[in-house]
Symmetry: C2
Subunit: 189 residues, 2 copies
DNA sequence: CTGTAAACACTAACGGTTATGTTTTTGTGT
DNA sequence: ACACAAAAACATAACCGTTAGTGTTTACAG
């Protein structure tokens, strides 16, 4: 009865993808700030309101793919092997994320992000949300005896590691260096 | 010659103050998001453009007083007694800042901030700027032998301490708990 | 007292976002 | 096959923060 057959969902997803593709194309071509929402809508051949029914904001058009960052972090905690220590598991995940940002295919996107103030700020508040859900996952882990404050703190530190490493000259080395500090902070609690 | 007698500066400062007062009054009365820039301008009896010639953005109207947070942090590093250990000096400063936010007079302002998404995000990116200048101060300190990455990391952690402590049930205790972790992270480098 | 530069004002616009109401498409029960 | 409800997309216009363009007043210097 109320279970959709699938065509509707497919068409909706197709429209969403069409918008995201058009937006990314224009952004990389002319620069993020030089492209207006009305340009994106015209390029994707949809109405402006349709753009905003698929994406909450102009910035969200850029970070569409990173939607699973949050999930990957919490899963690195919840899905790790029994008795596997926490910090190395998180370090492995952050390493993979940093590597992904500097990969050849995605590098132009992240260069574009760094060039736009609006995008940098949007990403940062996105990471904050990620830190909060990571903190929730840490608090919920029965194998960890730390206080709620300690969990929230470590979650922030891990997100900091990501954002600091991305800006560093040698991102991979920076991840390792920062995680040494995080490990020490974790063990003191 | 180009040294003004003072009346002009006083009038300018008075206008600025009049705008800030009107804004804060309206914000606390009706809520930040329910007040428009045009309302603030009308209440202060100035033109909209005058508001923006004194304040860079609507959010900046709220954070006028916190302009010296940045300076206080860097001075806690540069002006500390010779051979005084770094982390306790920073902890003392963060303690004072957290106390200030929870003081009776300023509490309503910070409640208002927490209620507005725009203000929370603005504050967070303000803190990021503070972290960067703190990092610069740390890197420049000749008494510290740590790497640039370590300095930037500690700077972030210190800012995290502020923002996490403010959200905690017992802010002062949270500062102490987080700074234990920061101390451990610092000493491992 | 006059020139000038800062502060301020007024209007109009720009760009992201949202509200309003309409039309088209799609799924489903008859 | 048809009708109907829900969802999606549409078009238009507005709202709000912000900025540009263009005067007008005010405080200071000579």
């Amino acid at each position: 009865m109320t279970v959709p057959t699938g065509r509707r969902e497919r068409k909706k997803a197709a429209t969403r993808q069409k918008i995201a593709d058009a937006a990314l194309r224009l952004f990389l071509e002319r620069g993020y700030d030089a492209v207006g929402i009305r340009d994106v809508a015209a390029e994707a051949d949809v109405a402006v309101t349709t753009v905003f029914s698929h994406f909450a904001s102009k910035e969200a058009l850029v970070f569409e793919q990173d939607a699973d960052f949050e999930q990957r972090l919490t899963q690195a905690v919840t899905n790790r092997a029994p008795h596997e220590p926490l910090i190395p598991a998180l370090r492995r995940e952050i390493r993979a994320m940093v590597r992904h940002c500097t990969a050849d295919g995605t590098a132009p996107i992240y260069r574009m992000i760094d060039e736009s103030r609006a995008l940098r700020e949007y990403e940062e508040s996105m990471r904050l949300r990620h830190a909060e859900s990571l903190a929730t996952a840490l608090c919920a882990d029965p194998g960890l005896a730390q206080s709620a404050t300690a969990c929230r703190t470590i979650a922030r530190f891990v997100i900091d590691a990501y954002s600091l490493a991305r800006e560093a000259a040698d991102p991979q080395a920076a991840v390792d260096e920062i995680f040494q500090m995080i490990e020490a902070a974790w063990e003191v609690t």
